[in-house]
């Protein structure tokens, strides 16, 4: 359990949110030109690292908006929260 600072509503408890997986995955411009392996790489393969991870979250039981979040998966410390379409404030 942790507190997430929703960029629209402010600080809320984690149970109001839904995790939406890894952020900043770019859809290939020409999917028809990809091999099955490359397509599977885009579609299914996600990082699951111990450490800093960039994620998408949805404030499902609040404003229902999506946003990005930088989280340290080892201790659930939230490093940054930023809106969709914005560049991550840390690398």
């Amino acid at each position: 359990m942790f507190i997430i600072n929703c960029p629209f509503c402010g600080e809320r408890e984690q149970s109001e949110f839904k995790a939406g997986g890894e952020a900043h995955i770019i859809r290939p411009k020409q999917p028809t030109e990809l091999s099955d392996d490359q397509w599977a790489e885009y579609l299914f393969m996600r990082k699951n690292i111990k450490g800093i991870q960039f994620e998408r979250w949805n404030h499902a039981h609040g404003c229902r908006k999506w946003f990005n979040l930088v989280r340290d998966t080892s201790n659930d410390e939230i490093k940054a929260v930023y809106k969709m379409g914005e560049k991550p404030p840390i690398k």
């Binding site: 509503c9 402010g10 809320r12 408890e13 149970s15 109001e16 609040g62 404003c63 908006k65």
Partner: protein, 187 residues
């Protein structure tokens, strides 16, 4: 509102807490992103939509609740006629907004049930089943939040000291109301 069955029957009275369904109340969800949308709503209804998060504004007839940066709920301050589901305000907004593609207007009168809570134990009741921190909220008149109560999505509007409105989806209302009665009896 036609062939209307009351979702929650009767007024429940506890020590320092009363709850009752208020009906029929007209409720609309309005959505729009453009600046012209906010000004068109303002001009047609003479109400300024709140742009600051978790706040509300009020005019003589209507209250506007902030739900999200592009979504508001409008509801009538007084009960409306029971034998009709035709609302002038919806008609007006449809003409000024939907037709001009500025935004969307949805009638949610029947979708949401409004429960009025009175008394100084409102937030003690909410604290028994909600992850939201009501400490600042309860002192801020007009504050609005969407959160969870007993795992059910709700909208809470702090109308005044010791008066709050709670909106819940109709299908969840009976369960939530019976849970609230149970929780209130143990406060």
């Amino acid at each position: 509102m036609l062939s209307y069955n009351q979702a929650l029957k009767g007024k429940k009275i506890f020590q320092d807490l009363q709850m009752e369904e208020i009906k029929p109340i007209m409720k609309l969800i309005i959505r729009g992103k453009k600046r012209e949308f906010i000004s068109a709503v303002g001009k047609s209804l003479n109400i300024l939509l709140p742009t600051e998060s978790n706040t509300s504004t009020q005019s003589d007839k209507l209250t506007a609740l902030w739900l999200s940066p592009d979504e508001w709920m409008l509801f009538s301050n007084e009960t409306v006629r029971e034998d009709s589901n035709h609302y002038e305000i919806k008609e007006l907004l449809s003409n000024k907004i939907s037709i001009k593609n500025l935004g969307a207007i949805t009638d949610v009168t029947d979708q949401f049930v409004m429960i009025e809570l009175k008394g100084n134990k409102i937030y003690e009741l909410f604290q028994t089943g909600s992850p939201f921190n009501f400490n600042d909220f309860q002192n801020k008149k007009g504050a609005v939040t969407q959160t969870i109560l007993n795992k059910i999505d709700i909208i809470v509007h702090n109308l005044d000291k010791n008066v709050a409105n709670l909106f819940v989806r109709r299908s969840f209302s009976q369960h939530l109301f019976s849970w609230m009665n149970d929780a209130a009896s143990r406060l």
